[in-house]
Each structure stands twice: as structure tokens, then as C-alpha cells.
């Protein structure tokens, strides 16, 4: 049983990792904590749902639409709003994205009402037996595989490409990278857009597994922050590792503890992390510095 749980957790954790990679990148580069990150996932899920219910585009094909669309939305949002937060007072940085998350949640409520909306294709209920009586849901498996591929891609992208190097340089030292000729505004825009695109991708992957409703963002944002802090702010491998661990913690605690307390488990983990090891596994930047 426990193997089943761990496996399930790891598969789930892959998607969490994807969400967290976006968040940790944004934080590492822009030093902004995006409280609306969960609502971005929600938006992606609604878009995926819409594509399926109106245009019959299955969620895995929808990825090809949702991801670039969210990239564009992220870029736009940065232009209109987010770039004004760089170097702003803490109160502005925190509460602009809090306000944004309120608007997104209530906007979803107004457009889609409070119903739980699901995407159900023949694929979504399939499960594979991988031996030893262990069952693996097909959507979970696909989500995991795609997450791993994309995570690996992100890692290589950051290491090998010029833009990737510019992003990493900015994470480590903003001032110096501008002196080295990095166009910081483009880096910010690009990073935020990628982070948002990744939430879109996660959303499309999650759609076959979970329903979407207007307040689902709250669940995601806190959990993603736990992953990011655990992995270390600004670290992609950390986000990956943290995502997998949180996935496992979630499936195990959902099984052994009353599901109502499930969230309490990772909130407690979160507090412990912030107090005792704010830099997480691989963090270069502590939760103490901004």
C-alpha cells in the first residue's frame, strides 16, 4: 500500500514541481512573491476546460494552446502591472498580487459561477497495472512524464542558452548583470511570461485529474510556496525535489490522517521550514533577504 501511495505522490509531485519552477524563477529573478500564482493555474484550468467543452480539444492537445496563451498573458500582465512592483515597497509588492488574486477569483466566480467543472475523457479514468498490483492512473503518468521532460528542458535551457544564462545571472546579481549588458527589462518580462506559461501547462495536465472551481487557487498557491521554500528560492532542481516530496507527503497524509487535517500537515511543514531552514535544500537566497 505504501508503495502505491509513494508512487502516486511522486507522480502528483511532478506537476507541483512544474508550478513551483515557475514561481521560483519569478522569485529568483524579480524578487517578487506572486500571491496570485494559484489563480494563474486556475485560469489555465478554465481555459483548458473551455477548449474541451466548446471545441472538443482534449486537454493534452490543449497544452499546445494553453501554454503559449498563458505565456502571452504573462507577458502582458508584466507590462501592465508586474514590472511596476520591482523595487517597490513591501506593502505594494504583497498587496498588488493579493488584489490581483481577489480579482481573478471573483472574476471566475462571475463568469463560471461556483460549479465544479471537470474534463472527463475516456483516458482520464484509465489506470495501468505496472506489476505487483500497483495501479497508476494514466493521466497521472502522462502528467508526470511531461513534467519531467519540461523540467529537464527548463534546466538545460537555463544552463545552455543565452537567455537562460541572462536569467541566471540576474538571479545572482541584478546590478552586475545590467553592467554586463543584460537587458533586464526583457529578462523580467521573459521570466514572468515563462513562469505563467508553466502554470498554464500544469493546469492543462491537472485538468483530467481535478475539477476546477473559483477558489481552487488558494490551495495551489500555499502548497506551491511550501515547495519553493523547501527547494530553495531560485533553484529549479530544488523545486523539482520539493515538488516530489510534497506530492508524497500529501498522498501519505491524505491516507493516514483525516483528510481535513491534510493541509495542516504541509502548513506545519512550511512553518518549520521558514523557521529552521529558510534557504531550503539548494537556496541561494534566504527567505530572510529580499
Amino acid at each position: 500500500m505504501i508503495t502505491q501511495l509513494i508512487l502516486g505522490g511522486i507522480l502528483l509531485g511532478g506537476v507541483y514541481a512544474l508550478m513551483a519552477i515557475g514561481l521560483t524563477l519569478i522569485f529568483g529573478v524579480m524578487r517578487i512573491v506572486n500571491f496570485a500564482h494559484g489563480e494563474f493555474v486556475m485560469c489555465g484550468m478554465y481555459i483548458a476546460f473551455f477548449l474541451y467543452s466548446t471545441l472538443q480539444i482534449g486537454p493534452y492537445y490543449a497544452i499546445l494552446i494553453v501554454t503559449p496563451l498563458m505565456f502571452a498573458i504573462g507577458w502582458l500582465l508584466n507590462e501592465i502591472l508586474i514590472k511596476r512592483l520591482i523595487g517597490a515597497e513591501h506593502v505594494t509588492q504583497i498587496f498588488v498580487t493579493v488584489g490581483l488574486s481577489m480579482m481573478l477569483t471573483s472574476g471566475a466566480l462571475m463568469i463560471f459561477s461556483g460549479n465544479f467543472l471537470r474534463v472527463q475523457t475516456p483516458m482520464t479514468t484509465k489506470a495501468l497495472d505496472i506489476g505487483g498490483g500497483i495501479l497508476v492512473g494514466l493521466p497521472q503518468l502522462i502528467a508526470f512524464v511531461i513534467s519531467m521532460i519540461v523540467s529537464a528542458f527548463m534546466f538545460v535551457f537555463l544552463k545552455r542558452t543565452m537567455i537562460g544564462k541572462a536569467i541566471r545571472a540576474t538571479t545572482q546579481n541584478r546590478m552586475s548583470s545590467t553592467l554586463m549588458g543584460v537587458d533586464i527589462k526583457k529578462v523580467y518580462a521573459f521570466t514572468f511570461a515563462i513562469g505563467t506559461a508553466l502554470t498554464g501547462l500544469s493546469a492543462a495536465l491537472l485538468m483530467p485529474m481535478y475539477p476546477v472551481f473559483p477558489t481552487i487557487g488558494v490551495n495551489f498557491v500555499l502548497m506551491t510556496f511550501v515547495v519553493v521554500v523547501m527547494g530553495g528560492l531560485g533553484s529549479i532542481p530544488g523545486a523539482l525535489l520539493g515538488g516530489l516530496i510534497i506530492g508524497v507527503i500529501e498522498t501519505i497524509s491524505a491516507y493516514y490522517i483525516d483528510p481535513g487535517w491534510k493541509q495542516a500537515v504541509y502548513f506545519s511543514v512550511f512553518i518549520l521550514l521558514l523557521v529552521f531552514r529558510p534557504q531550503g535544500f539548494f537556496g541561494q537566497i534566504g527567505a530572510e533577504e529580499l
Binding site: 500571491f35 523595487g87 517597490a88 509588492q93 504583497i94 488584489g99 471566475a108 462571475m110 521558514l274
Partner: protein, 333 residues
């Protein structure tokens, strides 16, 4: 005290008017708006001691609200302890809770402190829904309508309005006193430059703990007032994140630097919300959307809040200009 009375006559006239409203206005609907406005004003002022003055932007104050309300309610329902006493005990428990958070999260800055407070409040929320034997979970607890001063239950709506006024006024006075005192200046110094501040003998740790504990204590007391007014408590009404956001928002929109700011914020936003909720009830969520927009715009354009706009400013009351986090960073970006 006398000096300050002579110094700010405008503010006292202002409160005088509010008091008269509480005493003489009739009509349940409008008295409800008045009472709720005063309670939110007190809540926002209490939050501001920790958020505005000390720079600890908590989004977990609903936790203190709930602790206060549940403490006094449980003591009253189970042991017939007067809510007046239960209120003090609730305040103390909340303050201790705040001390714990403060000690653990002392080094966390800005958004990370905020995240930690959210996590704490969510833990309180989850506990209150899960510990059904004690709190009756999501079903909530009802306070019996047995009127009497000791019971803190009243028949007359004006009584509640007057009591809420007193609550608001007392919290305002505390906030004002702190602002103009040595602690007030030390808090400003701490926000401007903690290293410089400590080199001048300022005990940063003590200041933060003091501000957040006092804030928690007062918030919990407001919790008791609120539950004794509504006569019903359930986790969703007292402990959700949206409540914490609302409390912070009122203080921020009103103005964090002036003691009168949160009061003005409440006067502006509370009736607005109640009216919006009433008139736009067909479009679920519209009022939240508008509030989110208001918060976003205010914080982006005028983070010091509306009270800083000149016709609200009273020159004798202390104020300072918020400092941009890092001016050079702004140049680059």
C-alpha cells in the same frame, strides 16, 4: 495627554459626531452598518499597530479574531463565564500566540512573514473545523439570546452601536498614543533602517514582539465584540483568509501612517461592501472583484493610503513618508 487634546481638536469633533450617530440613529439596517463599521475600524486600527507601524504585514489576523471569539464563547457557553472576562483571557491567549509567531518568524522579511502568518491562521482555521467536539466544527456555535450586561447580550441595537464606538475609540487612542510616543519613533526607525536603529539602542526584537502582541490582543477583543453582536460563530465567518485580507485592506486603503487612517478606511469600505453585496447580489463575486481592484489600485498608486490626501491630514499629528525599498533598484528596473 492634555497637550494632545489641544493639538487635535478636529479629530475629537469627528469622533463626537460618530458617537452621536451611535446614540441617536434609529433603524436596524443602518445601525447594523454603523456597528459593523466601528468594529472593522477597531480591527483595522489594531492590525495597523503591527502592520503599519511595525511593518509586519500579517495576513493571519483572522486567527487572532477567531481565538478571541472562540475563547470567550466557549467559556460562556460551557462555564457561564461572562464574555467580559472571557474577552480578556482571549486577548491574552492571542497575544501569547502572537509572541510564538513573532519569536519563530522574527527573521522573516516582507512577503515571507506574510506567508508565515497565512500558514498560522490556516492552522487555526483547520483546527476549528476539525476539533468538532470542542467547537462544533463548521456547524458553528450559537450564543443564547439572554440579555444582560454581564452576558454581553443586548436587546437594543443602539447599545451595540455605542459599545462598538467605545471599542473603536479606545483602540484609536491606544494607536494614537503609541504613534506619538517614544515607541512610535522607535518603530519608524526600525522600519527605515533596522541596523542603524539597533546601533542607537533600539531593541528590534522587543519592538516587533510588543507591536504584534498588542495588535493580537486588541484583535482578539474585537473578536469577542463581534461574536457577541452576531451571536453566532463558525470558522468561515471568523477565520478565513478573506477576513484577514479585509482587515489589512481597510488599514492600507485608509492609510497606515496615521492613527485615523484605518478608521477612515472602515468608514469608506464597510458600508460600500454591505451596499455592494446588497445591490449586486445577482452577480456573485462582483463586490469582491471591485474590492480587489480598489486594493490593487490604492497600493500601486498611493501606498500611503487615502488619509494622506491633504484634506484629511492634520499637521500636528505625526506622520512620515514611506521609504522606497531600494531606490537604486528602481533605477535599474
Amino acid at each position: 495627554m492634555k497637550n494632545k487634546l489641544l493639538d487635535i481638536p478636529k479629530t475629537y469633533y469627528f469622533f463626537g459626531i460618530l458617537f452621536l450617530l451611535a446614540v441617536f440613529v434609529q433603524g436596524d439596517f443602518i445601525l447594523d452598518i454603523i456597528t459593523m463599521t466601528f468594529i472593522w475600524a477597531a480591527l483595522a486600527s489594531a492590525w495597523n499597530i503591527s502592520g503599519g507601524y511595525a511593518g509586519q504585514f500579517s495576513l493571519g489576523h483572522a486567527g487572532f479574531l477567531g481565538v478571541g471569539a472562540y475563547t470567550s464563547t466557549l467559556l460562556y457557553i460551557n462555564f457561564e463565564v461572562s464574555p467580559w472576562f472571557g474577552m480578556i483571557l482571549g486577548g491574552i491567549i492571542a497575544a501569547l500566540f502572537a509572541l510564538l509567531i513573532g519569536v519563530l518568524c522574527f527573521r522573516l522579511k516582507g512577503p515571507f512573514y506574510t506567508l508565515a502568518t497565512i500558514a498560522f491562521a490556516e492552522l487555526v482555521f483547520i483546527s476549528s473545523t476539525q476539533l468538532r467536539d470542542i467547537t462544533n466544527g463548521s456547524m458553528g456555535l450559537q450564543i443564547p439570546f439572554e440579555t444582560g450586561f454581564i452576558n454581553f447580550v443586548f436587546e437594543d441595537a443602539n447599545t451595540y452601536a455605542i459599545l462598538s464606538f467605545i471599542l473603536m475609540f479606545v483602540v484609536f487612542l491606544i494607536s494614537s498614543y503609541i504613534k506619538n510616543s517614544k515607541i512610535g519613533y522607535y518603530l519608524i526607525a526600525m522600519r527605515e533602517d533596522p541596523d542603524a536603529a539597533s546601533s542607537l539602542g533600539i531593541n528590534i526584537k522587543f519592538l516587533k514582539l510588543f507591536a504584534t502582541s498588542l495588535s493580537a490582543f486588541l484583535t482578539a477583543i474585537c473578536g469577542t465584540f463581534l461574536v457577541q453582536y452576531i451571536l453566532f460563530i463558525e470558522p468561515a465567518n471568523f477565520l478565513m483568509l478573506s477576513i484577514s485580507i479585509k482587515i489589512a485592506m481597510i488599514a492600507i486603503v485608509g492609510g497606515m501612517n496615521l492613527p485615523i487612517g484605518p478608521v477612515l478606511g472602515a468608514i469608506l469600505l464597510t458600508p460600500l461592501e454591505l451596499l455592494l453585496r446588497g445591490y449586486t447580489s445577482e452577480i456573485a463575486g462582483l463586490h469582491l472583484f471591485i474590492f480587489g481592484l480598489i486594493l490593487l489600485l490604492v497600493v500601486l498608486v498611493q501606498p500611503k493610503g487615502l488619509a494622506e490626501i491633504s484634506w484629511f491630514k492634520n499637521k500636528k499629528v505625526l506622520r512620515w513618508n514611506g521609504v522606497k525599498q531600494n531606490e537604486t533598484k528602481r533605477d535599474i528596473a
